[in-house]
Amino acid sequence: MMINSKALIARGIGKTVRSGDRDLVILRDIDLTVDSGEALAIVGASGSGKSTLLAILAGLDTPSAGTVELEGANLFALDEDARAELRGRTVGFVFQSFQLLPALSALENVMLPLELAGRHDAEQAAREVLARVGLAERLQHAPKHLSGGEQQRVALARAFVAQPKLLLADEPTGSLDAEAGREVIALLFDLNRAAGTTLVMVTHDENLAARCDRTVRLEAGKIAP
């Protein structure tokens, strides 16, 4: 039962970093609300601050101003560990460059979030998700022995294995060729729909954005009207 039908509420998000001897404004006064089950695309040119916004929404980066409410909890009122715990419980993440751990097999990479949460059924659950992304035969392969599309599918399995309420995807097809990209996107939307996950996806691909329920455009750190 959802008490709040909003998956994510961001208010007045700003991010400034020091570059040399002057401040560089990356994000300015962003207000954003995502409903549960909604698929939102964040688009914008390179350097418009899309990835930084996504990292802040996930609590991977801290904003200079503003608040993020994730599943009813004020993200930056929590300490680092509580934030990580909340993230582990509710958020899945897909990166442009996959971010699989090279020392771990495909199976172990997918087991990671469950192991961190202390789940004893980690292996069984991981096997099932990997089967769903079509990699049942490649469980013991190390990432470097998988193709790019396969690696991103492992990453998808890892993102969904803990059954997150919110999936954050940062240019998920950015490192893939068109064919592999299409496959990964099809899989992503399938899994998303089946699990009823809220999706926030950063992309510069307008076609991909069009498949989402709503699109937000960032321009120079601000949401374009």
């Binding site: 560990d81 715990e85 993230r87 971010q99 979030p113 961190l116």
Partner: protein
């Protein structure tokens, strides 16, 4: 590109490794070079000159003239035995003295030391005795009852006792046949009327000066030597001093070797990190059309430029370091060190470049082999083929260089071989141990229900290959540190023990069989423990395996002289306690008496083997025995030692005198005067001064060597540091991904801590085993010392590994947790 990479901060670690490497290698080499030169010079001080010419008949004037003509300093001396007497009528006392007449400028190297009275503090003498005066040693002052200021008679002359002679450079080399010393001026010899045709007199010429002039003169004089003449240099004689110097040079050589090898490991680790960070750039360049060779030339050139610069900086730093070192040791090194030669700088450059090429080239070759595909697929690594061959080549060249630098093939082979074996064993053992630690039983044993612990243990196995490399490197660095801290102390202690402060300082020769009982009661009456008294038979070697022996049969100078001289033989049922059996077996009581036990060194010099039959003559009788055992002796122990020992049944009937050695404590010298008065025929040799001198040399060497060890220690620490940071990038990225997926700080830090602690324990245990094994090997094979492994090492080694990696885990997790995951991941993309 060099500047760009430098600004990026990636070359700084590598350059630092190179600079420290070259600096440590050159400072060790510079200092070893100077200390080596000083050692040779100090040894010359024991010889009294750089070169000594000895003859049993007067030297041709032309030879003496040639010394001066060669631009060398010259001094002269002659030795003979004569009766000296003092007192009148009933109170007259006489004593056979070893007379040494010297020119005023004797000695050319080292100093004579004199005291105003027996037992009084002594001081260096500015020159030899003035004409009309004599210096007597303590024993002769006692025996003649001739204090400083009194007159003594020598031949037809009356001479005034001007001082007590406490130390002369040449004394202590061979104390047998030395009657108590009487030293006078060369100008007074003619007046004594003691030197006439047919007198047994030894004539000495001393030369000192720059090494090249000495070498030139030696070249001139050697072919002109007649029978009964020989050249004394450092290589001959003085076994105890030589043993110390040899050992010191081995210590220094060992240190230089270790520093160089460790530096190589640090460079290899540094380059690996550089290469891992450059793979992407190389892939891009390959995409843009750079050929493999172009890439290799590019990076090879960059490294070469860096290497040359680092070598230059390293040489300068090495020079500065050794200057500081020499300055710090100025008080210990009694005289100033000679200026360094440029050779170590050249060696430093060569070692630096070989290290760079040998250890940096193999990883660089990987850069060249990076597939362009990596631009699309980041995980596509370079092929590793060919790198092993390059490593082997580099190691081979380095090994040759190190053997050259050590100047000792055996030591070099031991260290280089030991290093290779250690690396292989460490890697294999680490791999097995880490996988075992990750196994299910271990996890159950430690109750792995915390996810951090479970995850950390699992990571041990997952990272087995990388971790094994890291553990092997850590173990290597730690081995060096342990070897240089614990094992070094043990070696140094063992070395010091070899010439203990309670070593005998008096030798008594010529004890007659009927004096044994009275002598023992003399010692007992004075509460001095009765020392061990050894029988001694003087015999000449006449045949080996039935073939007559002559000096001409041997090419070695030392061998020639040994054969010409009389041997001091002894007999015993039991092997003397301070001897060690090296080969064969000691005889049982009542066995065939025709057996001999021979000292290992002399057997080598004269080419004697077990089973050889040696024939000696003594007192007109000859006897033959077979060599049935070889013994190892410690010449620097200052105890009574014999080259040849036989069973009593073989020698008992020969004319025997006895010899003993004991220690007279400071202030008890009066007892010695009583001894010579009660037994006037005895020869008492005071080797106290010689022992003190040898002790001083050893202490000085130990201090220098210890200081030099610090550099190798620095190189060891550098390896540890490089090994620790070598996986830092990967661990940071891994921690960031873990945090993305909900890992708490405690989980990240905990799993790293578990992993690091296990690695630390494995590395510590391996390093302990390594240090103990290498220390044992070095002690036995290279230094001829007995060295039980220190229990401290066994405890401290594993603890050091644990402590080091705990500290690292703490520092590393602070670093890993400080940056936000987003930042870490962006950096790694």
């Amino acid at each position: 590109m060099l500047a760009r990479d430098w600004r990026a901060g990636e070359l700084q670690v590598l350059a630092a490794a190179l600079v420290v490497a070259v600096a440590s290698v050159t400072s060790v080499a510079f200092f070893a070079d100077r200390v080596g030169q000083a050692l040779v010079r100090d040894a010359h001080q024991l010889l009294g000159a750089d070169l000594v010419l000895a003859s049993d008949h007067p030297w041709d004037k032309a030879i003496g003239a040639q010394i001066s003509a060669s631009g060398l300093a010259r001094a002269e001396a002659l030795n003979f035995i004569s009766m000296a007497s003092a007192g009148e009528g009933d109170k007259q006392r006489s004593k056979l003295a070893g007379v040494k007449a010297v020119s005023r400028n004797y000695p050319l190297r080292g100093t004579l030391r004199i005291a105003p009275a027996p037992g009084a503090p002594d001081a260096p003498a500015a020159s030899g005795p003035a004409p009309g005066s004599v210096w007597l040693d303590e024993q002769l002052v006692g025996a003649l009852g001739a204090p400083v200021g009194s007159m003594i008679r020598l031949g037809r002359s009356e001479l005034k006792v001007a001082a007590v002679l406490t130390l002369e450079p040449e004394r202590g080399a061979n104390f047998f046949n030395i009657a108590p010393r009487l030293m006078l001026n060369l100008a007074d010899v003619t007046a004594t009327g003691l030197v006439q045709t047919g007198s047994r007199v030894h004539y000495y010429l001393y030369a000192a000066g720059p090494p090249e002039k000495i070498r030139a003169f030696e070249k001139f004089v050697r072919p002109r030597l007649e029978r009964g003449q020989h050249v004394d240099d450092l290589q001959s004689g003085r076994p105890q001093v030589r043993a110390s110097i040899d050992r010191a040079q081995r210590f220094l050589g060992l240190t230089a070797l270790l520093a160089a090898i460790l530096a190589g490991v640090a460079i290899a680790l540094g380059t690996r990190r550089f290469v891992e960070r450059h793979l992407d750039g190389c892939a891009v360049m390959r995409c843009l059309g750079a050929t493999q060779n172009r890439l290799l030339a590019l990076y090879g050139g960059e490294f070469l430029a860096l290497g040359l610069a680092a070598c230059a900086v390293g040489c300068l730093a090495g020079y500065a370091a050794q200057e500081a070192l020499a300055g710090a040791l100025a008080g210990l090194l009694q005289a100033a060190l000679p200026a360094p030669t440029p050779l170590p700088a050249a060696q430093g450059f060569l070692v630096g470049l070989v290290l760079l090429l040998g250890f940096a080239l193999p990883p660089l070759v990987q850069l060249k082999n990076v597939p362009a595909l990596r631009v699309i697929r980041r995980e596509s690594g370079p092929a590793r083929r060919g790198t092993l061959a390059v490593y082997a080549l580099g190691l081979g060249v380095l090994a040759a260089l190190l053997v050259w630098q050590a100047g000792d093939l055996r030591l070099g082979v031991y260290v280089v071989g030991g290093f290779g074996v250690a690396v292989a064993v460490f890697y294999a053992a680490a791999w097995v141990a880490l996988r075992a630690a990750a196994s299910a039983p271990v996890a159950r044993l430690v109750g792995a229900n915390s996810s951090a612990l479970r995850y950390g243990l699992a990571n041990l196995k997952r990272h087995a290959r990388g971790n094994a490399i890291q553990v092997a490197s850590l173990a290597l660095g730690l081995t060096a540190v342990l070897l240089l801290s614990f094992t070094r102390n043990d070696l140094v202690d063992a070395w010091r023990r070899a010439a203990p402060p309670d070593a005998p300082n008096r030798f008594v020769l010529g004890i007659q069989p009927d004096q044994l009982a009275p002598l023992k009661s003399y010692f007992t009456a004075r509460g001095i423990g009765v020392p061990e008294i050894y029988p001694m038979v003087r015999g000449r070697l006449v045949a080996v395996n039935g073939k007559p022996v002559a000096a001409e049969d041997y090419r070695d100078e030392r061998a020639k002289r040994l054969v010409e001289r009389e041997f001091n033989l002894s007999y015993a049922d039991e092997m003397p306690g301070h001897n060690q059996l090296a080969a064969g077996s000691w005889w049982r009581k009542g066995a065939d008496p025709h057996q001999l036990s021979v000292e290992q060194g002399i057997a080598g010099t004269l080419g004697w083997k077990l089973g050889d039959a040696l024939t000696f003559t003594a007192g007109g009788e000859s006897f033959t025995g077979r060599v049935t055992s070889l013994r190892k002796l410690r010449w620097d122990s200052m105890k009574v030692n014999f080259f040849v020992i036989a069973p009593p049944a073989l020698l008992e009937s020969m004319p025997t005198s006895y010899i003993t050695a004991f220690r007279v404590a400071a202030g008890e010298e009066r007892a010695m005067q009583a001894l010579t008065q009660q037994f006037p025929n005895l020869t008492v040799v005071d080797v106290g001064a010689a022992v003190r001198q040898a002790q001083g040399v050893i202490d000085q060497l130990i201090n220098a060597v210890q200081f030099v060890f610090l550099f190798a220690l620095g190189a060891g620490l550098l390896v540890l540091y490089s090994a620790l940071i070598s996986t830092e990038d990967e661990r940071r990225r891994e921690a960031a991904v873990m945090r993305v997926y909900g890992a708490s700080r405690a989980q990240v830090a905990g799993s790293q801590r578990v992993e690091f602690l296990a690695m630390g324990l494995v590395a510590g245990v391996l390093a302990t085993a390594g240090a103990a094994a290498i220390g044992q090997l070095l002690a036995q094979r290279v230094f001829d010392l007995d060295l039980p492994p220190s229990p401290m090492l066994l405890i401290a080694g594993p603890l050091a590994g644990l402590a080091l990696l705990s500290l690292n885990a703490w520092l590393s997790s602070r670093k890993v947790l400080r940056a936000t995951p987003a930042l870490t991941l962006r950096e790694s993309i």
